[in-house]
């Protein structure tokens, strides 16, 4: 054979190895048979050969011993590890063997759990503790953690789910929930919910705030369970208030007051001639956190993003224009926000709070613990105070703030929907939601935790309702409205986000920036309008 042919052969062999070869199933015998032991036999090998499973060897032992009782020519096996050449044994049929096999224990299942909370140590610890409790209750289920950053979670989940994989259970915020439902990424959990027992005289879903449940559905089917639920409120540093000659027990209640306060709080504290503390910090980067910081300002001015039928933008209203101008001018006219606002994301704003670079911010339950961790010397739990979001003077809008909501969902690709539901049910249970508050100061979408079921004689979690921050946040839930829920929302809010940046940087006037965003949003919403239907001019 020449060398060339040898090479060719080599390649062919390599290719052959590549091609996945299906393993031929071992022939399983249909009838039992007598068998004389020969050298090099052992029971599990015989079980593998004749029964297709080496772990079925106890069946051979049992049947042989049974035969031995009737007919002494069969061997008696006392030790399955020891058989002698020449013994006559009986190998049962696969069916006979199955009949005596013990009921298999519930198959071990590994659930992959994805959550951005895992990347924050104090949240990770709380979740790990919860899973220990869960695994103790469900010994056959093992939870594997899948870490993902807040900013990358949609990218990661989308890629994975499109590829037919991904975590079994994962956590998302309201921002992208609608898109995930519309894309068909989520498992329909309606049958599980219907099979669960009711509580408090109602069905299984009674404990949850109705507005949170609404977000979890499409066409009457449920695709997620509500998780965290927190209204946005104003946080302020009472020491900085006192230093600036303001009364820390009287937070601003109107936006006019707020600007006055913020100007007084914007100061040069170390006397080097440079401003080093500002009145207010906010998110100006292109970031999912922008929505929660701008929406309260829009709503408390009486404005809205879209018309009620979601067919047109509503940013052309006098209220919305005023709100947007107010927001932009905090930076451009009043100068009460630290420089570089367009690069600030929620994390860096909290860091500014921790460094006493700012005196006020819009935040919620997660704010005090993170600020505290960023700078323990500040003593955030003591120094920070919470108050409702200010409103426009003379206005009493029904909704003056917005709320953060997160949801738990099951991947449509999961191979273990039942177990995944057990996990979702567990993590949204009253006990776990209370623990989540203890560990992370996060409020729940369950009314038997955050309050709101008093009429039915159900009280909320004492510790939560007596907490100095949580009680303000819980009370504001009644004034909190969600942003419009449609799959185009991420694109819509980003248009507003970019407009704010254009306003902050002076690239456009606030009016022009908002007008461009208005037109862009109407273009995005054109799919919902019939031919000939138009939106009013800005």
């Amino acid at each position: 054979m020449n060398k060339r042919l040898l090479n060719l052969l080599l390649v062919v062999v390599m290719l052959a190895v590549w091609v996945p070869t299906a393993l031929a199933a071992p022939p399983v015998q249909e009838k039992g048979q007598d068998y004389i032991v020969v050298a090099d036999d052992w029971l599990s090998k015989l079980a593998d050969k004749y029964l297709g499973n080496p772990f079925d060897y106890p069946a051979i032992v049992e049947y042989t011993n049974k035969k031995h009782a009737e007919d002494a020519s069969y061997a008696k096996i006392t030790n399955p590890d020891l058989i002698e050449v020449g013994w006559k044994i009986y190998i049962p049929s696969a069916e006979e063997a199955a009949a005596i096999a013990p009921a298999p224990p519930p198959a071990a299942v590994t659930l992959v759990f994805g959550d951005w909370h895992l990347t924050e140590p104090h949240w990770e610890k709380a979740l790990k503790e919860a899973f220990e409790i869960f695994e103790a209750k469900h010994p056959n289920i093992h939870i594997e953690l899948d870490y993902v950053s807040y900013a990358d979670k949609e990218t990661k989940y989308t890629t994975e789910i499109e590829a037919g994989v991904g975590p079994d259970v994962f956590h998302l915020h309201g921002y992208s929930l609608k898109s995930f439902i519309e894309k068909g990424y989520l498992y329909d959990i309606t049958p599980f919910i219907e099979a669960e027992a009711g509580v408090y005289g109602g069905d299984f879903l009674t404990p949850w705030y109705p507005q949170t449940l609404e977000l979890m559905q499409k066409d009457g089917r449920y695709y997620a369970m509500p998780g965290d639920f927190m209204s946005m409120v104003l946080f302020y540093n009472k020491n900085l208030f006192t230093e600036a000659g303001l009364d820390p027990t009287k937070p601003p209640t109107t936006w006019d007051e707020f600007v006055d306060y913020a100007k007084k709080l914007t100061r040069d504290r170390d006397g080097d001639g440079q401003t080093d503390t500002w009145g207010f910090g906010t998110v100006g980067a292109i970031d999912p956190g922008f929505e929660l910081r701008f929406t309260p300002i829009l709503f408390s001015h009486g404005g809205a993003y879209l018309t009620p039928d979601n067919k047109c933008a509503a940013l052309n209203s006098a209220e919305a224009k005023e709100a947007f101008k107010f927001f932009v001018e905090l930076v451009t006219v009043h100068g009460v926000v630290p420089p570089g606002v367009t690069a600030q994301n929620p994390g860096t704003v909290r860091q500014q709070m921790a460094n006493e670079q700012i005196a006020m911010l819009l935040g919620s339950g997660w704010t005090p613990p993170i600020v505290d961790k960023n700078n323990p010397d500040l003593k955030a739990f003591e120094v920070l105070e919470a108050a409702p979001v200010p409103v426009k003077a003379g206005l009493k809008p029904e909704f003056s703030t917005t709320a953060w909501i997160s949801a738990w969902m099951i991947n449509r690709n999961t191979k273990h929907p039942k177990e995944a539901w057990e996990l979702v049910k567990f993590i949204t249970s009253k006990e776990m939601e209370q623990k989540w508050f203890d560990d992370a100061n996060v409020l729940s979408s369950r009314r038997d935790v955050s309050g709101g079921l008093e009429a039915q004689g159900v009280k909320g979690y004492d510790k939560l309702l007596n907490d100095k921050f949580a009680k303000v946040i819980a009370a504001e839930l009644a004034h909190a409205k969600f942003v419009p829920q449609l799959k185009e929302w991420p694109q819509i809010i980003e248009a507003v986000n970019a407009a704010a940046q254009e306003g902050f940087t002076g690239a456009k006037s606030p009016e022009k920036a908002l007008e461009d965003a208005y037109n862009r949003i109407n273009e995005i919403l054109s799919v919902y309008r019939a031919a000939g239907e138009t939106c009013p001019a800005f």
Partner: protein
């Protein structure tokens, strides 16, 4: 010369060649061809549709999307200036490092260092350095008394793109430099000696010996750099995410947003196809050169 008769059978030799490239062809198809085909198919499918019917609406929408044109313009601006500056800086550093000076090995290593940093990391580092209140750049300007203002490098619409380009020049010039340095070292010293005997000035040496002999290397470096710069993503993603407004929104970033943030898969695919075509056209001279060489 007689033409060889047409053959209908592949020779042993050819068969062997095909067999050897087959595995890599398969791999190429799997990791490149398949996703590419899906992207092209997607781009001709209606937005958010479950059924795959043929439509051109994504491309029509593209033509009317001012953000797309904005992204395209910024991409050309970004690619044009970074490639040009990579070349200028890369050539200057290469010529300097080609001189027989002490410690030239050490200096070469130092000059290559920025290239060894992943672009995501350099994006993060530059963002910290550009931070108006706590970044080192403003701090230096304040300490040296040049200015007392908090210059918003990445937040000012006129400054953001130049700031990003500056960072990218730092990140990207070493690649061009390495290629040109290799080219410089391949030029025989005799040419320069002969020129010197004839009384040529250093400038003339550079103009009439270095540049012509380096031409091929320059084309290779510029072509590869251009292709890579069109795909640049991590740096801008981490520095500005396209902001402020849309001032630094290069096409790769806009595609990313359309796909992963707005979930408009089909629309994003159409954009990706356009970007691929642009890159193909731009890389044609390079491909032709490589083919001619064989």
């Amino acid at each position: 010369m007689r033409r060889p008769p047409p053959r209908f059978f592949v020779s042993h030799q050819e068969l062997e060649g095909y067999a050897f490239v087959l595995p890599s062809l398969l791999m190429l198809f799997l990791i490149l061809g398949f996703p590419m085909a899906i992207a092209v198919l997607n781009s001709f499918t209606p937005l958010w549709s479950e059924v795959k019917t043929f439509t051109l609406e994504n491309y029509v929408k593209l033509a009317r999307d001012d953000l797309f044109w904005n992204a395209l313009l910024i991409t050309f601006y970004f690619v044009g200036s970074t490639v040009l500056l990579h070349l200028v800086v890369g050539l200057a550093v290469a010529v300097a490092l080609n001189a027989q000076i002490r410690a030239h090995q050490f200096l070469r290593v130092m000059a290559i260092l920025p290239w060894t940093v992943p672009d995501v990391i350099s994006g993060l580092i530059w963002r910290f350095m550009y931070n108006p209140t706590s970044g080192i750049i403003n701090d230096l300007l304040h300490k040296t008394g040049i200015t007392n203002a908090y210059i918003e490098w990445l937040a000012h619409p006129k400054l953001a793109l130049p700031s990003v380009i500056f960072s990218d020049v730092w990140r990207g010039y070493p690649f061009v430099m390495i290629i040109l340095l290799a080219g410089l070292q391949a030029i025989p010293r005799e040419f320069y000696e002969a020129a010197r005997v004839d009384g040529a000035s250093p400038l003339q040496e550079f103009r009439y010996i270095t540049i012509p002999l380096l031409q091929r290397m320059i084309i290779v470096a510029v072509a590869l750099d251009t292709i890579w710069q069109f795909r640049r993503f991590g740096l801008v993603y981490n520095m500005t995410l396209g902001g402020p407004g849309h001032a630094t929104e290069i096409l790769s970033l806009y595609i990313y947003k359309q796909y992963f943030k707005y979930f408009n898969f089909e629309y994003a695919s159409a954009m990706a196809v356009v970007l691929a075509i642009i890159m193909l056209v731009i890389s044609l001279p390079y491909v032709r050169m490589m083919v001619r060489r064989v």
